[in-house]
Subunit: 155 residues, 2 copies
DNA sequence: GCAACTTAGGTGACGTGTCAACTATTCCCC
DNA sequence: GGGGAATAGTTGACACGTCACCTAAGTTGC
């Protein structure tokens, strides 16, 4: 690893620091608000979105993992924790004896319904109120480019 | 909490999903590369940057917390873990009997020097290679706006 | 029809992050 | 100078994430 690596130039460094800061500061705020409102975490919220968005109100573990880009192990642990709090339950899968459904409970449905409006409000307040409609489009386009690069690299 | 909340429009939703995806996918990759290269985590790296950038090679816990926007408790736990691996040590502070210095060790210095070039290369590869110089500036400006909004809200 | 392989998911150990409570010092101000 | 408030930092409990490994069920090919 010889050091022929160009360090980041001033603009890149600026962009990078700014990204790191938003990254470090945004989620904790959203998390705390969710926790205070409805006593669920951002991760719980994300899982509940996936599960409730499917008709049937149930999703396979692998599908959940792919949608959230979590690994299966993380999904499994998280589902265990959520089912301890009765937000979801596991059910076995008839089609595939190895498989498992993650099924939302009435409590889970209730939680996400109570959480969603406040969460959306918070996202709007913390992010989109800072940007004009044009800026939102630009920001999305650039973030997409980074995402595409990232996914190309992972493959 | 009446539901007079406008849901996100299509562009906002797009931006938000894209942000979430980058957020979820970028750090794990950087983390794994650091871990594989030099066996330190991104958090270790961030702490080491702060500590080695100060002359003296030492920083107060509170200063570290503010620079990284971590809470003191997190800093304290992390320093404990890092000192178990001899990357830093705690030293008591003469000026202020309550205080503590976090001091980088030769091992810590060595680790970050070995880690930095690869890490920069990874950031460049995963992020900046996706964007033109102009786009980097635009992206930074927009991220800054969000950051400013976020910080205004926290206060 | 059975051995080798792949896939779905779970588990345990351990590192990480958060919150609330605690101790020890310093500050302030009477 | 002494007593209460603020500040620096640590700790313990517990939620979260990752890795390596495990089991059980499905798949393939002979």
């Amino acid at each position: 690893m010889t050091d022929d690596t160009p360090w980041l130039d001033a603009h890149e460094q600026h962009a990078w620091r700014s990204w790191l800061a938003v990254r470090a500061e945004l989620s904790p705020v959203l998390n705390r608000e969710l926790q205070a409102d409805v006593d669920i975490s951002l991760s719980d919220f994300d899982v509940l979105v996936q599960v409730t968005e499917s008709d049937e109100g149930r999703v396979r573990v692998a599908a959940l993992a792919e949608a959230l880009r979590w690994d299966r192990s993380r999904v499994s642990h998280h589902v265990t924790r959520m089912s301890r709090r009765s937000l979801v339950v596991r059910e076995e899968c008839d089609d595939d004896g190895r498989g498992a459904w993650v099924v939302v409970t009435p409590e889970g449905r209730d939680a996400i319904e109570r959480a969603a409006p406040g969460h959306v409000r918070a996202v709007r307040r913390l992010v989109f109120d800072a940007l004009s409609p044009d800026e939102v489009r630009t920001w999305a386009a650039l973030t997409d480019k980074v995402l595409a690069r990232l996914r190309a690299d992972e493959a």
